[in-house]
Structure formats: C-alpha cells, structure tokens
Amino acid sequence: MATDKDNAEKAHGLDRRQFLTASAGLALVGGPALSAFLAACGGGGTSSGRGGTLVYAMEISDLPSLDAQTSLSQGSTLAQAIQPMFEGLTMYDRHRDDVVPPAVGVLAESWTLSDGGKTWTWKLRPNVTFHDGTPWNADAAIWNFQRLYDPKSPQYFLLAYQLMSIYMPGPITAMTKVDDLTFTMTTDIARPLNEELEALWMVSPDAVKKLGNDGFGLAPVGTGGMKFSKLVPGQQFEMVPYDKYWGPAYKLDKVIVRPIGDATARINALVSGEIDLAVELPADGLAPLKSAGKTVLTSVRPHTWEFIFNTKQPPFNNKLVRQALNYAIDRDGLSNNILKGTAIPMTQLAIPNSEWFDDGLAPYTYDPTKAKKMLADAGFPNGFDTEWWTATNGSGELQPVPMAEYIQSNLKDIKVNVKLKTFEWTAYLGEFFKSAQPGIGAMQISYGWSWTYWWGLLFSTEYLPPKGPLNNGHYTNTAIDPLYDAALGESDTAKRATLVKQIQKIVWDDAPYLFCVHGLNVRGLNPKVQGFINAKEWQFQFQTIYKT
C-alpha cells in the first residue's frame, strides 16, 4: 500500500514535504486558510503543468439528475463526479493528503457563533458568481437553505430534503439576512454546522427558477471552477473550466464523466486506456491494472465494516461474549487474504490520522485461546449456535459474503457456529431498517463516518430503534449521552475530538459490534494523470489534476 502511494507520488512529481509545509496550520482555522493554501499551491514549481481532457468513470450504471442537492441518493459517487461544478459554505479540504481532511470555509469566508452555539453568522466570500452570471450572496444562500428546509417556501424541494436529511439532521429554525454578504442561521440545539453542511452544495436560484427542479438536473449551475457543458443522456456529461471562477483555475481543459457500474468493466476500460481515472476498484482487479502499467493508489477514509450484535438477546447481551468474539477474528487475514490489501484491520472505530484517533486505545488482537477462555468465563465453554445476516453487495460493502465466510471459519475455531443468511442489498436494507429481530445474532453493515453527530445516531440512547435505524443492535449505555451532547455543542475542534474519544473508549470496551475492517479508497489512474492528491476521504478534488 505505502509503496504504491510513494511510487505514484514520485511518478507525478508531487513533493510531499513542500506540500505539507504549504498546508501546515490548516487544521486550526476555516476559510482564510484555504485561500492562503491554494495560493501557495499555485506558486509551486511542480504544479505548473496544465491542460488535457480527463475521462472519469463513476461507479454507477446510469446518469441520474445532476442537481447537487439530490446527488447524495447515490452515496458520494455522483457528488464526487459533479464536485467540480459545486461548492458549499464549507467543504473538506481535499487538497491535502496528510490527515483526514478538515472542513474549511469555501463559499463562506468565515463564521462566528453566538447564542451558546445555536446561531451561526456566516460571512460569505465576495465576488463569487454562479456559472449563469448571477451573484452568490446572502439571498442566494438563504434561498438554497429554504429549498431544503422550509416547506413554506415556493422552492421547497421535498425529494432533496429527503435525500439530504441525513446530512443535515437538525432543523434550521430561523435565517436572517444581515447584509449582502452576511446571514445568520439558528438551529434548535448547538451543533457543528461547519462540518455538517460540507455536503450541502449551492445551486443557482435563477437557474432552478428557469429550468425547474427536473430541468436543472439536466443542466446544473453552481459556483465551482468547472461549469457544465454537455450531456449525452445515459452515457456521459462534460465539464469545462469556468473563466470567472473566484479560486485557482482548474488545470484540465475538460472533464468527461461516464457511468460504468460494473467494477470489472471499469478495470477493463482503465487497462485499455478508454478512461483515465476510476475509483472503488475491487481487490481482484488490481493485478491486471498494475501489469498494464496503471497507477493504483490506496488511502484510508472514514469507513467501518462490522457486524452489529443484537445486544437485546442472549448470548450477545453479555459483554464478555461480545469481547470474546472480537478476540477471535483474524483482521489481518481478512484485510490481506480476502481483500488483498484494499482494507486495513479495524484497531478502533476512528481511522488513523483522523482527529478522533486515540493513541491510547488498545486494539482487539487475534487471540483464539483468550477468546475461548472468555467464552468459558461467560458460561459458554462449548460455544453456541447463532444466525447472522449480511447483504451480498451494496454501497461500501466490499465483498460481504467471502468476508462473512472467513469470519464464520474464524468463529468455528472457538466453537461458535454461525449460520449465514444473505440478501441482495435493497432487500437487505429493508430487513436492516426493522432493526435486529429476535433470532438474529448479528447484522452486517458498513458506515461512512464524517460527522460528530454520527456518534449520537449510532450510540446515544436518544436514537434507539425505532427512532434511529442505525443503532440496529439496540446498544444502550447511558454514560454516552452526556458526552455526546457535550461534543455536539462544543465549537472547539480539539475539545470536541477529546469528547468523541471518550465515547469511542466506552463503545470499544462494550463491543456492541464485531469490529472488522476499514475499507480503503482504491483509485486507478492512467499514468498521464498528474497532480492527483490522494485524499484520505471518500472524495478527491479535480482542481490540481492535469494530463501530460
């Protein structure tokens, strides 16, 4: 993994040290840092190249609506592809690859908090225009949030709200324009909006009014460095640089996005040179890519793959049993034998290099003897039989069936006989939403973790089923609730991270999950693609990319 990455960096001449220097200090503050960083980057010697047409393959089989505010119906797949055209108040700074990118100000230059963190005053970036020439200002910002939040506004778009609701869990109770470039936003409770709003990208009010919601999806207009130029229905769409972009110019002359849902087809197209860049490549496809001289990059991202124990029912209502099973599985084998290095063992819920990673937390090792002893102590010297459910495919699911079978064989060694029941993804989700029913020992799922409130949705008793679907196994520990509430209301990033680490410590010890692996980003590149920054996040950015 490290070797691929290092080679790739050498290949496209990215000077890592120079890069890190340029981005130092970025984690601390929001808006101003980004422009300073971008300016530094633009002056660098290695980034002087530009031009070229990049063909990027999305991992879906179709071109859905290109509206940024419905794009998350496809996970981050479509958002990644339309990202050059759109920006939010804040976004993850995917120009850096040293740490999990923090959210920084983009269309907001800065913000201040008042009213105990419930009121956010956003100072917007001046001299920004949408691709249709209309200005970005407080009116446009409020219009956008009303489209998502305010059922009484004419532009309210229910589908967008439904699709985005997970990315904006708290209601906005009031919005007020202060001046042309300032507005305030009030929420019911204090929450870290700068990270929660990073996936909400702004669309041109004028264009939506003219085209309607459905028409806008066929000809999207945002503020990003590239603008929409062409759509071939079902086949591809194209973007070209926007010459009045406020930030550093995109280096590519054109980006063409094609939907290629089948992973093997993506690998083949990359090998034959029909496309330049593809992500979400399966472990089995990496060897052909490398032997065809293509670049393969892996990087961590906030992803976890686990079985959620049904903590309501015996035997998994017993913490000792849950811990014992966590000592019984070979996470290295899972990562390297089954997933061929496209995943890393889960040593804690937070991924390495993230602000939540706790150096003091001990991982569950692979120790079947210890596991057996713990099981005996828990009253199961002869093991037990249990039924576990998993999907056969799905978003972020890696290769669920071979992985589950590997785990099954591990657990057989400690006399825990797992009967696996498998479902196609959509059917599985239907079952998953019902939360773990009696008779089900554990249900498999994978999650992407990017926000503080995630810890609440998963572990706070406030979100127990049926209210929250994510705490599938009915895990309850009331010690977490005050920590979560404090974390959500904490505006200081470092202090917030400390609180999250405390939640994680409790969860890690309680072991409501069979913690398995973190899936990695697997990105395949034509070697002619330069300036690619392998961000430790689900998405990467296109701005620095060019082709030789």
Partner: protein
C-alpha cells in the same frame, strides 16, 4: 388474410393486459422498497414513510395497479423515482440503443445461422456438417455474458482492437463508425446463441424438405443441385425458419440485457438491471411493458409474414 390479421390484433389485447398484471405482480413480490434503496441505510423511518406516501406506495396493490394502468392507457408511464424524468423518454432513449444492438446481433445471427445450416444440411454427416453443428451447439450453450467477457479479454485487452465497453468513445465519439466499432463485440456476444439456434433449425427444416419426393423428381429431371436448393428447398423450408428467426429476434430484445451490463451498453437491459437495484418501480414496469409489447408485436409480425408466405396457415385458422 385481412380477417386473419384483424383477429390476431384483437387477441393482443388480453395478452397485453395479462402481461401488465404479471409484470406488476412480480415486481411487488421482490422484497425491499424504493425508499430504502434511494434514501440509504442512514435515513429515518419517518423520512422513508413520507417518501413512500409521496409516491403512492402506501396504497393497497390493486389500487396502485389500477392507477398505474389508467395512466398507461393514457400513454403516461409515470416519473422515474430515481431520475425524476418521465419514464417514457428514459425507456424510449434506452430502447433505441437496445434495438440497434439487437438488430445488428440478429442480422449477424441470421446470416451466420443460415449459412451454417444450409452448409450442414447439404453435407449431412460430413465434416462440414459436424463442424457447423459443433459450433452451433457451443454457441447456443455458452452464456452470453461469459462470451462477452472472453471477447473483451481477447479482442479489447490482449489485442487492443475493439473498445471494452460503452456505445461511443468518451472523447469526440458518436460518429457512425465509432458506434459500429463499439457494436462489434457486444453484437458477437449477443448474436452467438441465436446463430446456433437458427443454424440448427435451418439444417433440420432443409433436411426435412430434402427428403420429400418432389426433390427426387427435380433431380430426376436434371436440375442442378444449386437450383434445387435455392429455388425449391430453401423457399419451402423458409416459413419454419422465419418463425424461429422472429422468436430469436424477440428474445434478443430482452436477452441482450446481460451483454448490455457486461459492455456498459446504455440500453434497456442495463436500465432494467439498475432500476431493479433501486426498486424504481415505474421504470421497471415501463421497461417490462415495453419489452413484452415489442415481443408480442414481433410475434404478430412473424405470424402475419408466415401466413403471407404459406397459404395453409391462413386457411387453417380462418376455417
């Protein structure tokens, strides 16, 4: 002939109505719901319930069916849940791409099948016969998606002659030649099985005619073998062959689905595959309805041509 045609057209109505019931019922038998598929594992129960209500999915099935049928009768197939575009335009767009692929595959299948069948029949039990029939058996037995993958490995990756997938090149694509270049491999993969079936049918029906007395009589009168074959035997065998060709063309329209997925061909098979994953009911219904409609119409066309070619068919039905 006209009354025969009219009778057949009237019979289409119950057939198509039956198809809508089966299609509608089958789709709602698949577990899982579109709200879950679209809103994802992180959506709340309330959001999903509102989403279902919005689409009328909380109504009882017979009512949903009635509403849907009423709209279909007004040529309104509804709006795609996932894409928010009219189903009719999505399906029509994709159908044209499928039609192109199916037509080229059918042409390939029929030409190759006819040739192999005639060669095999006229050299019964000879080496050519065995080779042709061996090929036909293989072509029929190999799954099209597997053949597609093998063709990609051989002719797009090992020897980079053809593209690995898609209908056009990403950069400056879309010219007729570009589309043809992208068509070759999927058409071969989709056309192989029908080619085998056509070859076997042609062989069997030509052999059947060959055994008839009039062929002996023609030979006795000194006609050349080629005249006997092309002026007398093939035309007599043709009605049966035509039926099989028509059926194969119908199967191709639905059956290129696997090939479309392997080659990322933007046709209805790919659309169906995707829509089932998303439980995008209006699109699934639209595609299935469209395919059954076309299949039935194609059958009708074949039957009518059969009747036109063979007077016995229309008299026996009319009587």
């Amino acid at each position: 002939m006209l009354s025969y045609a009219a009778r057949r057209v009237v019979l289409l109505v119950p057939v198509l109505l039956g198809a809508t019931v089966v299609v509608f019922g089958l789709i709602h038998l698949i577990p899982g719901d579109p709200a879950g598929a679209l809103l994802g594992p992180t959506s709340s129960d309330a959001t999903r319930a509102a989403f279902r209500h919005d689409l009328g999915l909380d109504q009882p099935l017979p009512i949903q069916y009635g509403v849907w049928l009423w709209h279909v009768l007004h040529l309104d197939l509804g709006i795609s849940i996932a894409r928010r575009q009219p189903v009719i335009s999505i399906v029509w767009e994709a159908f044209q791409h499928t039609l192109l692929l199916a037509a080229v595959a059918a042409l390939l299948a029929n030409v190759v099948g006819l040739f192999l069948g005639i060669v095999a029949a006229t050299r019964q039990f000879g080496i050519a016969d065995r080779a042709a029939m061996g090929f036909a058996a293989l072509a029929t037995a190999i799954p099209s998606y597997w053949l597609g993958l093998i063709l990609v490995v051989l002719l797009a990756l090992k020897v980079q002659i053809f593209p690995t997938g898609g209908m056009t090149s990403a950069i400056d694509g879309g010219s007729p030649f570009d589309i043809f270049w992208h068509l070759v491999l999927p058409a071969m993969a989709a056309g192989a099985a029908p080619a085998g079936i056509v070859a076997r049918t042609v062989r069997a029906s030509v052999l059947e005619v060959l055994r008839l007395d009039f062929v002996q009589a023609l030979r006795a009168r000194g006609f050349s073998e080629s005249t006997i074959l092309f002026r007398h035997i093939v035309p007599n065998a043709f009605p049966t062959i035509l039926t099989v060709m028509g059926l194969q063309a119908g199967y191709l329209l639905g059956g290129v689905a696997f090939v479309e997925v392997v080659f990322s061909w933007p046709g209805i098979g790919n659309l169906l595959f995707l829509s089932i994953g998303q439980r995008d009911y209006p699109v699934i219904l639209g595609v299935m309805l469209f395919v059954s409609f076309v299949f039935v119409l194609l059958n009708l066309a074949v039957d009518l041509m059969h009747a036109a070619l063979d007077p016995r068919v229309r008299t026996s039905v009319a009587a």
